[in-house]
């Protein structure tokens, strides 16, 4: 894997959704700050894991990178071109390069299309990728690559199990030979014994095709396994970014520490003495985030400065990798190593 040139650069990305009231006269009464100033690089062949709780803006971020939503501000540079400004033909050409694997393999496949039609549909939209005569052969190859029987090309989605359907979704994502695949919770709907199969498939494909993944998930142990770098998101902002070892073994942001300590460890040894940071309450509404640091309402380290000053995502004296906390400090919560 080569980790030098960024294939995707995200700069100060912001997406606010308006909140309106009234039926005839829609008044704008506020906005949901779904993504609020996110920046990161994604290198070729690399996997960036994005973790966070529901409502933190992970999925909006995925939609922005797919150019399914227009950002309120900021840039997404794909190989140097800002895709948020693209229109028409150039936008369509760009879409070939960034594909997506969705969470729910039951609703993301059209039940009235055969597997061959589903996996082959990208070729109809981008006919330059595969001439008409070769498409069926290409689809069969793709099914083979993701571990499905190519002879099942005429079957319908309901004839497959959940894990097999997710493979169909992955084959569809691969069809146009993209550079980047955005995986939004790709295994959370699958049974435990099937999750490992799909993770292995994704890792194998990455090596084979030199793919870059944005891997969005709430299962921290799976993210650790697959990701080279991990970004932790809270209320629309990245609060900590680092390599998988930095995030899991020396987390510096209180939220990351709480998140890691909340994950149940699949080993009953020493469960009574394990350190647990239990957060109180729920995340605040992104329509009305707290002033200063958005985590301060649930943070045990919060002081006056946290309410007045927004901490920057930057390395600090006691925190070698970027962390958005005034009092960032390394604290190994899980002792996983």
């Amino acid at each position: 894997m080569t980790h030098d040139e960024p294939v995707l650069q995200v700069r100060d990305l912001v997406k606010h959704f308006p909140l309106t009231q009234g039926v005839v006269f829609k008044r704008r009464i506020g906005e949901i700050k779904a993504v609020d100033g996110v920046s990161f690089d994604l290198n070729r062949g690399e996997t960036l894991g994005i973790v966070g709780e529901s409502g933190c803006g992970k999925s909006t971020l995925a939609k922005l990178m797919m150019a399914l939503e227009r950002p309120t501000a900021g840039q997404i540079l794909f190989e140097g071109t800002d895709i948020t400004q693209l229109k028409g033909k150039t936008l369509k050409a760009m879409r070939r390069k960034v594909q997506m694997v969705m969470q729910d393999p039951y609703t993301s496949l059209n039940p009235r299309m055969t597997v061959g039609d589903i996996v082959g549909e990208p070729f109809q939209i981008h006919p330059e990728v595969a001439p008409k005569g070769s498409r069926k052969q290409k689809v069969r190859e793709l099914l083979d690559v993701v571990g499905l029987d190519p002879d099942h090309i005429n079957r319908y989605p309901h004839q497959f199990s959940g894990g097999q359907r997710q493979r169909i979704g992955i084959a569809r994502g691969l069809a146009l030979r993209p550079d980047v695949i955005v995986c939004d919770e790709p295994v959370s709907a699958l049974d435990v014994s099937i999750q490992a199969q799909v993770i292995n498939l994704l890792e194998g494909l990455q090596d084979e095709f030199n793919l870059s993944y944005i891997f969005i998930a709430h299962d921290l142990s799976i993210v650790r396994h697959i990701a080279d770098r991990v970004a932790v998101m809270y209320l629309g902002k990245l609060v900590e970014v680092g390599s998988d070892a930095e995030i899991y073994e020396s987390p510096t942001h209180p939220y990351t520490q709480a998140l890691l300590s909340a994950v149940p460890v699949p080993d009953p040894e020493g469960r009574e003495s394990r350190e647990r940071i239990t957060l109180q309450g729920d995340p605040p509404s992104p329509a009305n985030p707290p002033s200063g640091c958005s985590f301060r309402t649930r943070c045990w380290k919060a002081q006056d400065v946290c309410a007045s000053e927004v901490p920057e995502l930057e390395p600090r004296a006691a925190a070698p990798h970027p962390s958005r906390c005034h009092f960032a400090e390394v604290h190994d919560v899980v002792h996983a190593s």
Partner: protein, 343 residues
């Protein structure tokens, strides 16, 4: 000593022989257009007071169906074709609906995965909790309201008094699950069945809810049946584990034994498929193949098409639950090999 203060237990059963709840050789069938789906095939487990039994299994393994039979809420066309469920020695399945009704909620209560669809959207949550007291204990509205607010406090809903008149949609997912728990424990049941109580929740909220369940269990000495597919949650709270596969219990053991040295290839596969730090960059150990179709069960051991320990015997003979020593049981002909490999 009378330290265990059971308010509801006027007729204290005393030192009765046998466990609190026993499921004995239960069989459940669902007739379908394509044949009979045998969702549960001879499941037996028992629960002691104050203990937590985790029932671990994937979708379709029969773990929830077993719980529905215990509660007496099995959906048509499913029916029990054989077996018994005994609560304090009495078989629930031969009781009339009239006899069973007072047990539900008073003695055995259940919480579900999806709190939003389990709560009635057109009544306030306070009213729904108070209903338990009005219907089962015949309290007046005022008394019931007082009790309901107490329950909301007990499950640590912030500002319980002010939120008595709020509707389910005004609460977050974690708060709704707390309300479900308040309703379930309102009448001080002896057995609480929690069917995937935290699957729909975020990890930080999951930790809060599991902590709450643990505390409540300790306070009132309930028996808890925790149905889940999450090996992490199980390791945190369970005393005993029953692993289910295709309608059978394939391994039944104390929690420490199972994680240290599983005695069934399926359990072993599940534990090995968890990503571990030292395996980073390597392939995960995946269990090959798919769970079986309940309409076309494999012959012999249902796990044999996916099993690395398979021999000819596995394809013809259904393994019984072998005694593996201690209080452990494994339904595998080759459990000695499996347990040796794991050590």
């Amino acid at each position: 000593m009378a330290e265990v203060a059971h308010q509801a237990d006027v007729t204290e059963v005393g030192y009765q022989a046998g466990p609190l709840l026993e499921v004995d050789n239960l069989h459940v069938e669902f007739p379908t257009r394509d044949g009979i789906a045998r969702a549960v095939n001879g499941v037996s487990y028992s629960l002691e007071q104050g203990k937590t039994l985790a029932v671990l299994g994937e979708s379709g393994s029969g773990k929830s169906v077993t719980a529905q039979v215990i509660m007496g809420i099995l959906d048509e066309p499913g029916h029990v074709s054989a077996g018994e469920v005994r609560f304090q020695g009495r078989n629930l399945l031969t009781m009339s609906e009239k006899e069973r009704r007072p047990l539900r909620g008073n003695k055995i209560a259940m919480i579900f995965q999806d709190a939003l669809s389990s709560l009635n959207p057109v009544f306030t949550v306070g009213w729904q909790i108070a209903e338990m007291f009005r219907v089962h204990q015949g309290l007046t509205r005022r008394e019931a309201k007082q009790k309901a607010i107490e329950m909301m406090d007990r499950v640590r809903l912030p500002a319980a008094k002010n939120r008595y008149n709020d509707y389910p949609h005004q609460f977050s997912g974690g708060m709704r699950q707390r309300i479900m728990i308040a309703m379930a424990i309102a009448l001080g049941p002896d057995v609480l069945i929690a069917d995937e109580p935290t699957t729909a929740l975020d990890v930080t909220v999951q930790a809060q809810i599991m902590g709450l369940l643990h505390d409540l269990q300790r306070e009132s000495n309930m028996g808890l049946i925790l149905i889940t597919h999450d090996l992490g949650v199980v390791a945190d709270v369970a005393d005993d584990i029953a692993v289910m596969y295709a309608g059978r219990i394939v391994e039944h053991a104390p929690v420490h034994d199972i994680y240290r040295a599983p005695a069934h290839p399926y359990t072993k596969g599940l534990i090995e498929s968890i990503p571990r730090v030292d395996l980073k960059g390597q392939e995960l150990h995946a269990i090959k193949g798919l769970p079986p179709n309940l309409l076309r069960m494999p012959s012999g051991c249902a796990f044999h098409p996916r099993c690395p320990y398979r021999t000819d015997q596995c394809m013809t003979d259904t393994p019984p639950l072998y005694d593996v020593g201690g209080t452990r049981h494994s339904a595998c002909h080759h459990w000695t090999e499996v347990i040796d490999d794991a050590r």
